[in-house]
Every structure is written in structure tokens, then in C-alpha cells.
């Protein structure tokens, strides 16, 4: 199918004449999602959409709250990557208190927290949520196609996944007091020094964690190249990529400047100060989703959409700063033969390279004397506007706040990682619908193909609902009069039932 045909699948010209199929709720993704497909009489797909159907209203209800509450409140957007929101908000708040440059200790301890988060989230995503599809097949028995099935069939691998996640969570607990929604970053620094005992506790397992992470890269690589043709074509399409990089253009997760490249790897913009993001990125509202559709302003809303997250970061980076991850990156990039890698399923492999990077970066920080410093806070000239940008597990995350003279929030803007991938995920859904579902009698296994594509992006639909929406997934058939004639629902036994409407 040509790209233009794919674009047409966003909106059918006569939706009222089509059958509607709904996949709802989306499972093994974090949050609430829903996919609708419209099919014609011959079972050809005419429209496919991924909807976010939940809304929270964060940008409004934060107004009037004092700025220092924000890093604590905002992490409740998402229990999977609370640290990312905590840190992005803290970076914005640093600007509000005029803390231009944190002390080396505060900077490194925040990084340590962030790498712990990347490690736990990536492990969760790969092992707990996605590995069942990759190990058992996209249309395997629904009863075993989950982490419990993996524990039964591949106990060693499952336990490794559980322990990798546990280690990341322990890094977070040691620093912030709790595994989920702890508090560590405060305006201008961090609230606690790091002790020798903490270091000993985390250091004793880190070599093992690095070794397991190497193993995880190898698992992801061999799953990808083992079925190379499927891996490269499944829900695949070309796109632009956006991420942070260091001033040298190297891989970076905590700080840095914005880089966007096109599908051939040519620069769209580079080294853009995050404080200027609004000049470069806008968001389009569409009536059928609470999740907005961001795009690069200079390219416009049709052409300017992009992908973020592990695939974008690895594609955009000149180098990984740690040796094992750099080795792994080179092997990965060879797949692109001089161009960026575009395959949707390549996200998993890229994600495990980042897992390895996070493990090595933690290892490095644990032997850095700066982490024991006691100079934790800086202050400066207060400002009325703060912007914090970070690379969260799923991609670039923007937090932007304006305050009044009393320090109360008057305006907020968030672009969460998953929102940045909105058009990309919709494109992947359409691609898979065209490749696998078109003209077929739909089965549970076929519908799972759609979710496999969505899972590759590791969408955090919890975060994505910060605006006010929630997203369940289901498929329905609508007849020529616009009546819903059939609704395809996955039963708890995994059986599809065509619910009479």
C-alpha cells in the first residue's frame, strides 16, 4: 500500500456505509486505549483509528497551586514512569527558582534516579508486556500470551525480567524513599545526600544487572533477526525522528538539546534549546481523540509528524556514551545500511540497547565520588516561566509552567512522550490493518496484531490521558445506514464474540 493510501485510511469517505470493529480495552499497554476499524462489505479496511478516550484536565486543575507542589503532584499522571514526570517538572521548576546549573552531586543523583527509572520501565515493557507476543507468536493462544505464560515456558528469562525491573525500582526507592511516587528532586537540587551504605547496597548487584542487560540485548536482537522479514515489514513505515542529544550529538536521556531528522537521516533542526520548543512544535486537535497530534511547525501538520522513544534516540545519536551500549548500537545501525532504522518492531531491540546503557551508566555513577557530596541545592534569580524537557522511557517529555508573582501556577502545557508518537501509532495501526486484516475474516489473533504494533511503541496511555481522556480498545461493524450491526469483543476466554447490538 502506498503512503498516500495509508493516509486515506485515517478517514473513510462514507463511514456510515461501513461495518465497525472495536478492540477495547487495549491490553498489555499501560493505560486505556481503543482501536476502531471500519470495513466495507468485502471486508476491506476503510478506516482505522487509535483513540485515547480518557481525559484528566491536568493543565487546568494545576492552576492556582504553588509551583513547588508540581513535581509531587504531576507524577500521579503515571505510575509506570513517575520519575520522568517528577524530573521534567523539577527541571521546569529549577528555571522558576533561577537554578541554572545544579551542583555536580545533585545533577548526578538525579541522573542516577532517572537511569533506575529507564531500567525498570524498559524491563517491564519488554519482559512483562511485549515478550509474550515475540516468544509465542502474535496469534498464540490468548491463555498463555502473557507474562504468566512466559514464567511457565521460559522461567529463567521471566525471572531475569522481574529482577531487572526490581533493581531499577530499588535504585528509585533508595534515592526517593519509595518505589512509586517518591520525592527526591526539589527546586534547585535534591532533598537527600547519598550514603556509603546505599552505595554498597546498590553496588553489590550491578555487575550482574549489566550482564543480564547484555543478555537482554542479545535476546531482542535474535528475536528480530530470527524472523527478519516479518521484523522489517510488520507495521513498518518511514518517518522523521525527534530526540535530545548532547552538544556533540551523542545519546542523552536527562538533558541536552532537541534534534529532529528526516526519514533519510538529514537534519531538520539541531541543537535547539528546549526553552524554545514552542517555536518548533505545535499540536493538532482531532475530534476523535483526546490525545493531540504534535508536528514540526516548519513541515506542517501533514508532513511534520515524527517518532520519539528508543528508536528515535538511537537513530539520532552519533554515539552511545558507554562502551557496551555503543557496541550494541553499531550492530543495530548496520540494519539501516546508512539510513535510520524504520521498522516498528526495531523499537524492542533499541529499547534493550537503552536498558544496557542505563545499567552501565548506573555502574559508572556508583563509582563516581561526586555522588557522596553534600552540596545539594542552588538558588538564583526567580523567573515567571519554566520549561523542563527530558527523555522519558517512551520518548521526549515536555513540561512547561508559568507562575504569577506569588508562585502560583497560571498556565501549564505538557506534551507527554506517548502523545509525540500519536500519529506514528495510528500509522502503525493502519499499516497492520492493511497488511494483515484487509479482506480477511477477523479473528482474535489477527486483532492482536494491531495491539502488537501499538505495544512496540510502549505507549503509556496513562500519561497520555493527562489532558482529560481515557482510551479503551474494541472493534465494531456499522452498516450502510450507520447502525452498529456487529461488535467484535474479545471474551475472557479469548474467544471473539460478535455481540448483537
Amino acid at each position: 500500500m502506498s503512503p498516500s493510501a495509508r493516509l486515506q485510511l485515517e478517514t473513510a469517505s462514507h463511514p456510515e456505509a461501513l461495518k465497525r470493529i472495536v478492540i477495547e480495552p487495549l491490553t498489555r499497554v499501560e493505560g486505556h486505549g481503543k482501536v476502531t476499524l471500519l470495513m466495507d462489505e468485502d471486508d476491506h479496511v476503510r478506516q482505522a483509528r487509535l483513540h485515547i478516550v480518557e481525559f484528566r484536565g491536568f493543565e487546568k486543575f494545576i492552576q492556582g497551586r504553588p509551583y513547588w507542589e508540581v513535581p509531587v503532584l504531576v507524577q500521579r499522571l503515571c505510575g509506570i514512569c513517575p520519575v520522568s514526570h517528577h524530573l521534567a517538572a523539577a527541571k521546569a521548576v529549577d528555571m522558576l527558582v533561577g537554578a541554572r546549573q545544579l551542583t555536580p552531586t545533585a545533577d548526578k543523583l538525579r541522573r542516577l534516579l532517572h537511569y533506575g527509572q529507564i531500567l525498570q520501565s524498559h524491563a517491564l515493557h519488554f519482559f512483562h508486556l511485549s515478550s509474550p507476543d515475540l516468544l509465542f507468536g502474535f496469534d498464540a493462544d490468548v491463555a498463555t500470551r502473557n507474562i504468566i505464560g512466559v514464567i511457565a515456558a521460559h522461567p529463567d528469562l521471566a525471572v531475569q525480567g522481574v529482577k531487572l525491573r526490581k533493581y531499577g525500582q530499588e535504585v528509585i526507592r533508595v534515592l526517593s524513599g519509595k518505589r512509586i511516587h517518591g520525592v527526591f528532586a526539589i527546586p534547585g537540587g535534591v532533598n537527600k545526600a547519598f550514603s556509603r551504605e546505599d552505595r554498597e547496597y546498590l553496588a553489590k548487584d550491578i555487575d550482574q544487572v549489566v550482564a543480564w542487560s547484555r543478555g537482554a540485548v542479545e535476546i531482542a536482537r535474535s528475536l528480530y533477526v530470527g524472523k527478519l522479514e516479518t521484523s522489517e515489514s510488520f507495521g513498518a513505515f518511514r518517518s522523521n525522528f525527534l530526540s535530545l542529544t548532547t552538544p556533540k550529538g551523542d545519546f542523552e536521556l536527562y538533558d541536552g538539546a532537541l534534534r529532529a531528522r528526516d526519514d533519510k537521516g538529514q537534519t531538520i533542526f539541531d541543537q535547539v534549546d528546549c526553552a524554545h520548543y514552542l517555536r518548533y512544535l505545535h499540536e493538532e486537535v482531532k475530534s476523535w481523540s483526546y490525545m493531540k497530534f504534535p508536528f514540526i511547525v516548519s513541515l506542517g501538520n501533514d508532513e511534520g509528524w515524527y517518532r520519539v522513544g528508543p528508536l528515535a534516540r538511537i537513530n539520532n545519536a552519533e554515539r552511545m556514551p558507554t562502551p557496551l551500549a555503543e557496541e550494541a548500537r553499531k550492530v543495530f545501525m548496520a540494519m539501516g545500511k546508512g539510513e535510520p532504522v524504520h521498522a516498528t518492531l526495531a523499537y524492542h531491540w533499541a529499547r534493550m540497547i537503552e536498558l544496557l546503557y542505563a545499567a552501565e551508566a548506573i555502574q559508572g555513577l556508583l563509582s563516581d565520588a561526586d555522588i557522596f557530596g553534600t552540596d545539594l541545592m542552588v538558588k538564583g534569580e526567580p523567573a515567571l516561566e519554566g520549561i523542563g524537557v527530558i527523555e522519558a522511557p517512551r520518548g521526549t517529555l515536555f513540561h512547561h509552567y508559568k507562575v504569577d508573582e506569588t508562585g502560583a501556577i497560571v498556565k501549564a502545557n505538557l506534551i507527554v512522550s506517548t502523545t509525540n508518537n500519536n500519529t506514528a501509532m495510528n500509522t502503525a495501526v493502519r499499516e497492520v490493518a492493511a497488511q494483515y486484516l484487509d479482506g480477511k475474516k477477523l479473528t482474535e489473533g489477527l486483532l492482536n496484531h494491531i495491539e502488537v504494533a501499538i505495544r512496540a511503541y510502549d505507549p503509556c496511555l496513562s500519561c497520555a490521558t493527562h489532558a482529560l481522556g481515557k482510551m479503551p480498545l474494541q472493534v465494531e461493524l456499522i452498516d450502510a445506514d450507520g447502525q452498529v450491526v456487529d461488535r467484535l469483543v474479545k471474551g475472557a476466554d479469548g474467544e471473539l464474540s460478535g455481540e448483537a447490538v
Partner: protein, 180 residues
């Protein structure tokens, strides 16, 4: 072997942190799976509860019509229904929007938002109706137990489950009851 306890879980207007806290029992997950069988849950692909289950764990409050529907389905299918975490118990952080009208919240995101183009409020029939207020679970259905915390710690969840499995009163001891 005795029959396994059938458990279903779901997230309504929550952040998934409570589900993550359940996974924070780490390797104890393997022990749990010896005695528990999961029905519908976001960690597997069962989209609806297939049969009555012993225990339902619900994270998050109620913010839209879809949530109300799912909550009622859970109540009718679960012998014991538990509100896990502050969002389910009080509405939590999402209920902060109750200080504003729904329209104010929608306008801020889709009309007045920074960098927003093609501004309008999404209104497709595919999007469930939002409630005017975010509500705790017990406003809609009877709840049998409350597990406080944001999220309740893995140890609190573990204590609750193991006491319940042993046939004892699963009420949390004082030291496991905390918001933060």
C-alpha cells in the same frame, strides 16, 4: 491442590501506579501464581471477566461513563471488591478537577492550550462521556475493602492477599496504612 483464588483487576481513572505496586512484590509473584489465577487484567489479554471471580482489585476513581459501566460489571462478577489506592478511595489527584467545571478543563487543553492548532473540543461518538465530577468507587457500588496508599506498598498488597488466602481478616495493621 486446592482451587486457585480467581482474581480480576482493572484500572479506571488511575495512573497504573497501584498495578505497578502489585508487580513490586517481585519474585513473590511466582509464589502468588501458585495460589491465584488471574482473570481479566491489563497484564493479560482477557478483555472482560468471563465468570464470577473471588476477588476484584480496582485502581482509580470514576471519571467517565465507561468507568461506571466497567465498575458495575466488576461488582456483579466479584465476590469481594477492593478499592486499591487513593484514587479509588477518594478520587485522588484526578478529582482535583472537581474544583473546575468540565468545560473549563476541556477549554484549557484544546482551545486555549499553548501551541494548539485546529482548536476544538474532541466530540466524536467514539469518546466516552466524561462525568462532571470524578468520584470515588463507593459512590457507585458497594466496596468491601479499602487498601489505602498512593500507591499502597507492595508489602501492604502482599499482606492483604496472603491474609485473605489464609481465610483471615485481611484488614491492614497500623504500620501498613499510610498515604505516602
Amino acid at each position: 491442590m486446592a482451587e486457585k483464588l480467581k482474581v480480576a483487576t482493572c484500572s479506571l481513572a488511575g495512573c497504573f501506579g497501584c498495578h505497578m505496586s502489585l508487580l513490586d512484590i517481585d519474585e513473590r509473584l511466582l509464589e502468588l501464581l501458585e495460589v491465584v489465577q488471574f482473570d481479566r487484567s491489563p497484564i493479560n489479554d482477557l478483555k472482560h471477566i468471563s465468570q464470577p471471580v473471588d476477588l476484584g482489585l480496582i485502581e482509580g476513581g470514576v471519571c467517565n461513563a465507561e468507568n461506571v459501566h466497567t465498575l458495575r460489571e466488576f461488582r456483579s462478577m466479584c465476590k469481594i471488591l477492593v478499592a486499591v489506592g487513593e484514587c479509588g478511595i477518594t478520587g485522588g489527584i484526578p478529582s482535583m478537577r472537581n474544583s473546575f467545571t468540565l468545560k473549563e478543563c476541556l477549554d484549557e487543553s484544546y482551545i486555549r492550550g499553548m501551541g494548539v492548532e485546529f482548536a476544538h473540543i474532541p466530540d466524536d461518538p467514539e469518546i466516552p462521556l466524561l462525568l462532571n465530577r470524578v468520584r470515588p468507587l463507593h459512590h457507585i457500588v458497594k466496596i468491601d475493602h479499602f487498601l489505602p496508599g498512593c500507591p499502597p506498598s507492595a508489602d501492604a498488597i502482599w499482606y492483604f492477599l496472603t491474609e485473605l488466602l489464609a481465610g483471615r481478616d485481611p484488614s491492614l495493621p497500623r504500620e501498613l496504612i499510610r498515604y505516602d
